[in-house]
Symmetry: C2
Subunit: 346 residues, 2 copies
């Protein structure tokens, strides 16, 4: 087995970098993780629902690290009308993220019904913009719970795909065997991102461990296995989106309402290498972590000369990054990873 892998930087198609001090802490860790393309989520407080808001946010990100290729998104809301879609396309915005109401961090403004957005989806299809779906049904229905919320959403995925067959749709951070199977059933315009942490975690790992708690929650061992198989399968429908979601330590280590989210940005590629090696599929790592996502989003390979080298070396994930109110606990803090990321940028 090779003990060193050198590849162009990877692409992370689901990134939360927040704003303000937290942004200044985590944006520099995008490249540390081996990532040159970051697909940026719009769920700030308040959410990004105008083209100007998105462009201003992109400027703030570039002020922190101008070397990352930030792909920007709008937050689906009644403000996102067909004319806004056309303006967004012209302004270089890549996609629109759809959060069902109340399912995760900063989703209070999320969608309660999809039908009112059909004209928006039609405009996106015309303009060839990407629809990013947080695929969970809210728990308003007494039969919906955290373990079936994603599976319960799949009929909606099928329905939107059928109505807008050319609309490129990404089922974000898919976590269940049922979701993997659903994405396989759809046409080529439908793909899915898989996070690093969902390749590690099951329900047992977040029980009593809020640092492993995120939405959608990690599910059963059989679901994790399906995700590992999808990620390492070489099927272009599945690619990497970390859903790295930094929260201050104080929002995680509490008795009630611990924030949902796992921060993986700084060690993104190292987390993945560990899983791919264990699965005996290291040769599929670049496809999943870079090529398939770039192909779906039509983003060329990075030719800047920046190369990422993974070396088979033990390193311990730090217990925290940052300090004070923006202290963040990385995924697997204090544990040993067996691949270490070396970047050749200055």
């Amino acid at each position: 087995m090779s003990s060193e892998i050198t590849i162009p930087p990877i692409a992370d198609f689901h990134v939360h970098v927040r704003d303000g001090d937290m942004m200044r802490l985590v944006v520099p860790t995008i490249r540390q993780g081996g990532v040159s393309v970051a697909y940026i989520m719009p769920n700030l407080v308040p959410p990004l629902t105008t083209v100007d808001d998105v462009l201003n946010y992109k400027e703030r990100l570039k002020d922190v690290d101008p070397e990352v290729n930030y792909l920007m998104t709008l937050y689906l809301s009644p403000a996102i009308t067909p004319p806004v879609i056309r303006a967004a396309k012209k302004a270089g915005i890549t996609g629109v993220k759809c959060y069902p109401h109340g399912v995760t961090t900063n989703s209070d403004h999320g969608v309660q019904s999809y039908e009112p957005f059909y004209p928006t989806f039609a405009a996106m299809e015309e303009e060839d913009m990407v629809l990013n779906l947080h695929g969970e049904c809210p728990s308003r229905d007494p039969d919906i719970h955290l373990l079936n919320a994603e599976e319960s959403f799949l009929p909606t995925l099928f329905d939107i795909h059928k109505r807008f067959p050319k609309l490129r749709i990404v089922l974000e951070h898919c976590t269940s065997k049922a979701a993997v199977e659903a994405v396989l059933k759809c046409g080529d315009s439908v793909a899915a991102t898989i996070t690093a942490h969902h390749l590690y975690l099951t329900l047992d790992n977040w029980a009593g461990n809020s640092h492993n708690f995120c939405k959608p929650v990690a599910k059963l061992p059989s679901d994790r296995q399906a995700l590992i198989e999808a990620a390492t399968s070489g099927n272009k429908k599945f690619f990497f989106g970390s859903d790295s979601a930094p929260h201050p330590l104080s929002a995680k280590e509490k008795g009630r309402n611990a924030a949902a989210g796992v921060y993986t940005q700084s060690h993104a590629l190292a987390y993945l290498a560990e899983i791919f090696e264990k699965a005996g599929k290291l040769e599929k790592l670049e496809d999943f972590a870079s090529k398939f996502g770039r192909t779906f989003y039509r983003i060329p390979e990075d030719r800047s000369g920046w190369l990422v080298t993974l070396k088979k070396e033990q390193s311990v994930v730090p217990m925290t990054i940052g300090e004070g109110v923006t202290t963040v606990v990385p995924f697997l803090a204090g544990e040993t990873l067996h691949w270490k990321i070396y970047n050749n940028f200055a």
Copy 2:
């Protein structure tokens, strides 16, 4: 609907009151909760594996509150041989608690295989002692997880019941529809306790909320519904065992390895009344909370003159009880209950 209920004090057939400062904090809350009979768990550190240890512990409990009827248990371990069972019976010890290895708080000394204990179970059957089973399979098997750990244990319950048909067995804190159905299938010597908090909680309630995290974990809405139906059914196989499990706040409000357990002792009967009223089954409350358990354990009704009155009054559960290192957060802290407990003892 009546707005006042007066009954003799109830019986709680699964109680953790710890030792030392924590014991001094929570033992006085047994009677506050409307409880006069407390079936005391032996999982101290180290666990109670000798008759003398159990009797000494009982003395310490009586020093704190002599008015409670403490029913005592041994912790099943290789030390619990048939002669120990006979000595325990003579000493007035009621039962033996069996923890599978590593499934919950202080279960490091727990059972890894049941077969070596058959002679002990035979002696218990002869001596008419009660076997209290924590019914979960440990997660050593990669297909076992927190949601199926109890269901996976049920074949073991059937097996022990078949081998020792007269041995009285209690499946403790049952949490799943499958467990309810299994207990119904067994003969009269098998019963189950149900906690107060499992009548309220599902998986969604402990996700990111460590105060609601316990073992066995609360499961799906359909499981909770099965528990409510069993508890309010008037079937004598199901009776109250709170599994009230106090942990210091600092052990609960942490990012990793939050302690498993929900403290319900101080408001035990009030929590139950709320659920029974909502189910339209207040008339079954006394059966579940007192009579069926006393019948199974052959403990007469309390005739001391102490009566417990539940009044239909709003009261807010305190955010904490105790102070300093023994601060404990009660179940539903800060929330409003609609029944209030009045005891007529001094």
